[in-house]
């Protein structure tokens, strides 16, 4: 038998019970109150299952985490805040599980569609501030940090940042353009990161329309990351232009069998991206849904395939075909419900695409206080009102979709389109 790996599990109290998190493949197990109490006692005190119910829960938890290691043999960290976040018509966790952290606005590529408007003259967050933020995130039970920029690899303390994140019990994930990937960076990413992503908005010549580096460079970097054992994700941002090349993108991704996964993201007209291209909302909804459905069904034969919460309205029509059940529903916008963004000035925003919608600053307040602040609740109220608008009010998927992005018109759902046809014919739009 090889050496047994030590994994620190995290138990976090939540309004519904709690979350058991394992950093191995970022498994979040949502437990009801009874299961949370039992699993906590089982790991903390070694209490054995006394009823069939407890035995069933334990068997399921062990199967979800890793069948080969006893749950009771793992180390455990508990974050046990009491529920005092205001109630909303959707689920709001006691703290975010995911934080998007923009550690720099510097990027040598200066892509014409960059939502962060990054440039070669950008600024980076001081390493002492980064450690302070990580400590705060740890105390709130944050599970994953999506490290972005700018180009994160240009940060002078890049390797130390990954090391710190991991040391504070936060799984660091990464998006890079690959330009600064050398042996040291590859080693650090492989050692500390859950996964790292390269962006892909076109294949061949189409790739070069947005990236100075060209497609061959991209392929080379992709190969190096995979060969180095890095869990590599291809991030496909879907705009009007890239959607027209979706078949070629899917062909390419399907040919890379060693990927961790392919993730589809919704294009937002933000930063330099404003006016560069148009969102999927500019395309006929049925066309978008059918092509997305085909892409998901094809790619799911060879790799993981996923989407960001901004695309949820386009997913509801074929969610059941992908294996989503009523117990495993699609989720709408996660901003200030289970995620938030931190800008390079340590301002906290619901999402990094809303840099003006600041809900607090980590220079002045703790994450605990910002999460419970009036500014945070104001954004949640906006989201609640968005989900209550006409066209969504009578929809069966409203509770999970939440009416789509509360800030941008990104993609249409079938119900929304039907509503607009009705409203147009009635002369209301």
């Amino acid at each position: 038998m090889g050496e047994e790996k030590v994994t620190t599990l995290l138990l976090r109290r939540e309004p519904f019970g709690g979350i058991l998190f394992s950093p191995d493949d970022a498994v979040h197990v949502d437990l009801d109150h009874g299961a949370f109490t039992f699993i906590r006692e089982h790991i903390e005190n070694g209490r054995l299952a006394a009823t069939q119910e407890e035995l069933d829960v334990l068997d399921q938890v062990i199967a979800e985490l890793d069948g080969s290691v006893r749950v009771a043999d793992r180390t455990l960290r508990v974050v046990d805040y009491q529920r005092d976040v205001r109630a909303f018509p959707f689920q709001v966790l006691n703290a975010p599980t995911l934080v998007d952290f923009q550690i720099t606005t510097e990027c040598p590529l200066e892509c014409p569609h960059c939502y962060a408007s990054s440039s070669a003259n950008g600024v980076s967050v001081d390493i002492a501030d980064i450690e302070r933020v990580f400590r705060d995130l740890r105390h709130n039970g944050v599970t994953q940090v999506a490290i972005g920029g700018g180009e994160p690899l240009v940060h002078p303390h890049f390797v130390e940042i990954l090391e710190l994140s991991s040391a504070y019990g936060l799984v660091p994930n990464l998006t890079t353009n690959g330009v600064h990937l050398g042996p040291i960076e590859l080693d650090a990413i492989e050692r500390y990161c859950g996964a790292a992503a390269l962006s892909l908005e076109g294949v061949g010549d189409a790739f070069g329309r947005t990236r100075k580096t060209g497609f061959e460079f991209f392929r080379q970097r992709l190969g190096e990351m995979i060969d180095h054992g890095i869990a590599t994700v291809l991030q496909v941002t879907l705009s009007q232009q890239s959607f027209s090349e979706l078949d070629a993108i899917v062909d390419f991704c399907a040919g890379e069998s060693r990927l961790y996964g392919v993730i589809f993201l919704a294009y937002k007209e933000v930063g330099r991206g404003r006016g560069f291209d148009r969102t999927l909302a500019s395309l006929p909804a049925e066309h978008v849904h059918e092509k997305l459905r085909a892409a998901f069904l094809r790619l799911s034969q060879t790799t993981r395939v996923g989407y960001d919460c901004c695309l949820t309205p386009a997913m509801v029509g074929f969610a059941s075909e992908l294996g989503f059940s009523s117990d495993n529903q699609l989720e709408g916008c996660s901003g200030m419900r289970s995620s938030l963004g931190i800008g390079v000035n340590l301002d906290v925003v619901p999402c990094t695409f809303l840099p003006q919608t600041t809900v607090g600053s980590l220079r002045e307040s703790s994450l605990f206080d910002i999460w419970r602040s009036e500014a945070a609740n104001t954004f949640r109220e906006r989201m609640a009102a968005h989900g209550e608008r006409q066209g969504c009010r009578s929809c069966d998927s409203r509770a999970s979709c939440l009416g789509g992005c509360p800030a941008f018109d990104l993609v249409r759902c079938t119900n929304h389109v039907a509503f607009e046809h009705l409203a147009l014919s009635a002369g209301r739009l």
Binding site: H139, Q144, L174, Q235, S334
Partner: protein
């Protein structure tokens, strides 16, 4: 008592949470993190259970026994005791009176 939901998979993107197609369709991912040192909890061998409780704003748990709860419990025991005593006294007094009545007759 049950598991409500399981989500699996890393999030690299900066546009909020993402969702991977449920792993039942694909099989579980094989990627694992390497062993690392947790700064708040010292690295320990697998057989050692090490627990750190973090609560920035500790407050009494709802199910935690409190002083008020304890005094309420003592009060309840007292009332029950008095009631039992009264019933016992009445029972004994009735029997005594019946016996006295029978002797007289």
């Amino acid at each position: 008592m049950r598991i409500l939901r399981v989500r699996r998979g890393y999030t690299t993107n900066s546009s909020g949470a993402n969702e991977w197609v449920p792993p039942a369709n694909l099989g579980k991912g094989s990627t694992t993190l390497p062993e690392h040192t947790d700064r708040g909890v010292e690295a320990s061998p697998a057989e050692v259970k090490q627990v750190t409780i973090i609560a920035a704003q500790p407050r009494p748990q709802q199910d935690e026994p409190s002083a008020a709860g304890a005094s309420r419990a003592v009060g309840n025991i007292g009332i029950v005791g008095v009631l039992v005593g009264v019933v016992f006294f009445l029972f004994a007094a009735t029997r005594f009176l019946r016996r006295m009545w029978a002797k007289r007759r």
